[in-house]
Symmetry: C2
Amino acid sequence: MNDFLSDCRSAIGEHYVVTDHTDMAGYLTDWRRRFTGKALAILKPGSTEEVALLVKLCNQYRVPLVPQGGNTGLVLGSVPDDSGNAVVLSLTRLNHIRATDIINNTITVEAGCILQTIQNAATDVDRLFPLSLAAEGSCTIGGNLATNAGGTAVLRYGNMRELCLGLEVVTAQGEIWSGLRGLRKDNTGFDLRDLYIGAEGTLGIITAAVLKLFPQPKARLTALAAMHTPNAALKLLSLAQSHCGATLTGFELMSDFCLQLVVKHYPQMRLPFPQSSPQYVLLEISDNESAEHAEATLERLVTDALEQEVIHDAVVASSMAQSKGLWNLREHIPLAQADEGKNIKHDVSVPISLIGEFITRTDALLAAQFPGCRLVTFGHLGDGNLHYNVSPPEGEAGDALIASQSDINRVVHDSVDHFGGSISAEHGLGAMKRDEIRRYKSDVEMRLMERIKTALDPLNLMNPGKVV
Amino acid sequence: MNDFLSDCRSAIGEHYVVTDHTDMAGYLTDWRRRFTGKALAILKPGSTEEVALLVKLCNQYRVPLVPQGGNTGLVLGSVPDDSGNAVVLSLTRLNHIRATDIINNTITVEAGCILQTIQNAATDVDRLFPLSLAAEGSCTIGGNLATNAGGTAVLRYGNMRELCLGLEVVTAQGEIWSGLRGLRKDNTGFDLRDLYIGAEGTLGIITAAVLKLFPQPKARLTALAAMHTPNAALKLLSLAQSHCGATLTGFELMSDFCLQLVVKHYPQMRLPFPQSSPQYVLLEISDNESAEHAEATLERLVTDALEQEVIHDAVVASSMAQSKGLWNLREHIPLAQADEGKNIKHDVSVPISLIGEFITRTDALLAAQFPGCRLVTFGHLGDGNLHYNVSPPEGEAGDALIASQSDINRVVHDSVDHFGGSISAEHGLGAMKRDEIRRYKSDVEMRLMERIKTALDPLNLMNPGKVV
């Protein structure tokens, strides 16, 4: 392996082949600090050509490699296993914005660009790059692409996949595929772009991408509505889609218990209603006309929903500051749940129409098998994506709960499967759900995936042990 | 081959194995009647299971197969070659709508459903299925999926790819992959869905799909604007996107010569302007509020564009009937061009910002090499997709032009490539552009495509001679 590392040093410079244990540490432990792997080295190429050189060396010496961006993944997809055979290939030095085209509404970025940097670059030219998620200050677009990231604006703008027009990829053989097309329509063969997106680095390394930009909306405004059941929330969703069409950009469900936790742990925050209600929806519209028009649209929707008795109370933010306050409630749910004790997270999706049934059935199954456990159910209802999280019984620290984690996962995932859902809506499989997914996908589907893996990465050097 | 056909008859019934030459004819000639192939038989399975049985038989007897829907393709993708070795596998009997879910906003359809049938089924439940194209009364959704169809609503709703959530596919080995998921978010492995979409039947046979539905807009209204140059049209596009956001659902460029041809051959049609202008844009908005609001939005946009001198004249339709009249002008362009004589069509795309330059440069190259040829340039400007068609010099029937077709294609496609564009924006490659594309795609990309083809269809039985 000394020859390999020495060749790597010649290829990209000594300084960018990190083997010091202290310096490597940050690259080897996952975001939620649940696993620490080992590596021969951290390689930090400075260009696509250098990535290609390194992949060729990995081929020559049969060294597995783990591509890594901001290392903010939640499913152990961007850290190596504990064999110590692999190298981590960090893309963070590929952090240039290569081009911006405000007429084509595209931005061409390298894989290591921080998501927030891209959002800001778009804002600077009066455009919107809509991907938005909790880790946006640290995650890289390469990781967002590799995991087909979701976030809070999928309802209107789609997942990462829909936001990307073209890719540059270093293949598993170390060749450069230049597919950086800024085209809305291109029907000339197999969709390689979407094959690399979401493959979590197991088929090749995304080094750059052409992303879609959108006009900046004139105003974004939110409302918070109170209702009795998730099914009432679904009725509100239909009403909102009919009233607002594509201006509806957010639709988040939160159970009463979620907001109780928020006000318990963050007493400075308050619910804007005199009494509590079993369910709430935070909805957002992005208006291309004006703040007044946005407010009027929301008022009309709320009035209609109240008259039809779909909801029984609502507040409409009349300013951006009020809107932010309502989003704050939503964003403090995971923090409050963490303050409450250890917990188990699920990132699941089901057909939107079955969300009510899914919640009722799964709540009952868990209550029967794990008495007293408390459900912190919230998420992107408009996308059918729930963070169906489980907290321990009141007063317990959660160690017993965590000991039952795999049993609880089984109940939840089997229920998701019962409703034709997905056990990973927006986080990917990584190493964490790689075995779990075999329970739910057919042999036919797994074989198709394995054939593709073998065809594109026959030596199994690209992020081995992840996805397939 | 008698054993093969006899086994096919046992599998799906004698009546559905067509070998009579007269009965086969309609399946062997392409839509534009440029090529007639031969086939052993036309097979007409009645279910996904029967498709799977037939594909297994094709594997057993090594018989190539050509999947076919409405046979309306424009690139010779759905007819067999003239060897007579293949069978045509017609999906038209798989024509059931399996389910509609108005809360999930999805419809599950079989591959042989006519596009218009699906549009109507959506309208019946007060939803919109937005895919719309000239052949919608005859083409099937299976073909739309296999070719990743485009059409007139891509600007807002995306290509066929973006309108599909899940697929059922019979693999090249005759296995059934049940990927009929109605999920907005699912990140559990390689994107097989998008690999089969756009593969033109060369990797497997799409037998059913889950499609997205949208709220019906309250009003659709159009405006026709007159401007001097394609670059002015691009400025109008930016203005329109800023004013209208996602309510902008159509943005079609038409040169003056296009509309001259329309009024020449359809004298009952009139341009709504006192004098002609070098370029026109037909734009459409779909409003979720009201017809009045749509009209006010268009009026505001037009006033702004006039004040900024981006355009010099415009009419805003004040009724659906007037809107239809404006669309009629656009839709008569290909008809008028056909009336004018033989012509050469191109279906190209370039980055939207480069459309003006592309037109100027390519017009000049053609004028120099093919003096007098007349360009009928129109298309989906909002998607960067031009139908850059060539008519013969005035008074010529077009035979000389057709004789130069490959030279003209070369000039146009080389120019498209120069601007980083695509030689097939929405029609696919089929047999017609299969060799042509090798000129423009890198060896790396072709090798990736070939690896995937070999991995999924090692016997090369699925629509051989198409795409790769």
